[in-house]
């Protein structure tokens, strides 16, 4: 057993221990912070498993945006939690534990029962990598070989934002999400919100661009852009846009819309829905990804900003 294996075992043990603590700790806020640290460590494990694309997503969503979403929820729940005197009953807790444990057990059994070697399409993906002109197999699968799934996922993002907006009260409908943030214009936060976003925007676009041949892609790049946008909003430098705004809705449908248009073009001029002409495969995929980068960044930012709370006039 070499030293690297020892590290891996230690890392796995630490992640498991942290996961159990996150479930067991009674305070919501502590559990959230534990979950953020858990996301960071899981990203390390994905890198160790050579799944860098997954590690990028885990770092962006698990440790970053998802953690911030949960922090906001925990801060909001704090007042109501202080008022409720009794938690869920023992039966509720037991049945939740049994349900979660049986799902985990079912997943474990499925993985253990896989034939050896496990059935895989990876060789086929590698063999057909030349068809799109891109060498990152994950991007090839997401954008070309299983493009249909990716398109439907973007529609799910749209549904999510519709769900969040539908929580708005009647008076606030069409207004701006979240509170109006105010901070000292000469303070540290406003300074950071001017300093960091230029670098962050470059990193976001770089992650999209490098996704053609190396780990990366529109979702991870979009998550970085969304966090930079929210940083500027939280520093009070700009306000959230009103949800009735026309350009905002255009950006929200740009990604899935262009994807659908290219797909229908494949039906008219090519052999099947979403069939890219070989000569134009890479430019087409890249333009879809650019549109999706904007859509994903806006959608993730608005999901974290929450339901409209103020009318647009104020």
């Amino acid at each position: 057993m070499n030293i690297a294996t020892v590290f891996e075992i230690a890392l796995a043990a630490v992640v498991l221990g942290l996961a159990i603590w996150t479930i067991a700790v009674p305070d919501t806020y502590s559990a959230t912070v534990g979950f953020i640290a858990y996301g960071l460590l899981v990203a390390l494990i994905w890198v160790r498993l050579d799944a860098v694309d997954v590690a990028l997503t885990e770092a962006a969503i698990g440790g970053g945006l998802g953690g911030v979403l949960l922090l906001g929820a925990a801060a909001r729940l704090r007042d109501t939690e202080a008022m409720t005197t009794e938690g869920p009953s023992l039966i509720v807790r037991l049945s939740a534990a049994i349900l979660s444990a049986s799902i985990a057990a079912a997943l474990a059994v499925t993985i253990l029962l896989l034939p050896d070697p496990a059935p895989t399409l990876a060789p086929a993906v590698v063999a057909n990598a030349g068809a799109t002109g891109m060498t990152n197999p994950v991007t090839n699968v997401l954008m070309a070989f299983r493009g249909m799934d990716t398109m439907l996922e973007k529609v799910v993002l749209l549904l999510a934002i519709v769900g969040v907006w539908s929580l708005a009260s009647d008076q606030a409908w069409g207004g701006r999400p979240g509170p109006r943030h105010q901070a000292d214009p000469n303070g540290v936060l406003a300074f950071l919100a001017r300093l960091l976003p230029p670098a962050g925007i470059v990193v976001g676009i770089y992650i999209l661009w490098t996704g053609a041949d190396h780990p990366g892609g529109a979702f991870q790049g979009g998550a970085v852009l969304a966090s930079m946008w929210l940083l500027v909003i939280m520093a009070g430098l700009v306000d959230t846009p009103p949800v009735r705004s026309r350009w905002l809705r255009l950006i929200l449908v740009a990604g899935p819309g262009l994807f659908l248009a290219v797909g229908l073009g494949g039906l008219c001029f090519g052999s099947a829905f979403l069939a890219y002409p070989v000569a134009f495969a890479k430019p087409l995929i890249l333009s879809i990804e650019v549109a999706m980068l904007l859509t994903i960044a806006t959608t993730l930012g608005l999901l974290l900003a929450g339901a409209p709370e103020r009318s647009a006039e104020r």
Partner: protein
């Protein structure tokens, strides 16, 4: 050189474990969040070293994303947790 870098990974992982102890102990939210930030920084260092040791250059990109989003998470913690800090009587006025 690889042995040296691997040893460095081990040392940082040990520090990361100490940060986890701090998350578990608390006692306040701010302590926990500072520990989470420490783990984020340690994670960036481990990723950069791992990328060099195992020859995965893309690990640098993961470190880049972690660096940006860990900053963002700590700011969100201060903004979201501020109302509570105010009720505790600590430094009102920066926000709101």
């Amino acid at each position: 050189m690889t042995e040296f870098l691997t040893a460095a990974v081990g040392l940082i992982l040990a520090m990361l474990g100490l940060g986890l102890v701090s998350i578990l102990r608390g006692p306040t939210d701010a302590d926990r969040m500072m520990a989470a930030q420490l783990i984020g920084t340690a994670g960036i260092a481990v990723l950069l070293l791992l990328g060099t040791v195992t020859g995965v250059p893309a690990a640098v990109d993961v470190a880049l994303i972690l660096a940006l989003l860990a900053t963002f998470a700590s700011i969100a913690f201060v903004k979201k947790g501020l109302s509570r800090l105010e009720t505790d009587g600590a430094d009102p006025g920066e926000d709101r």
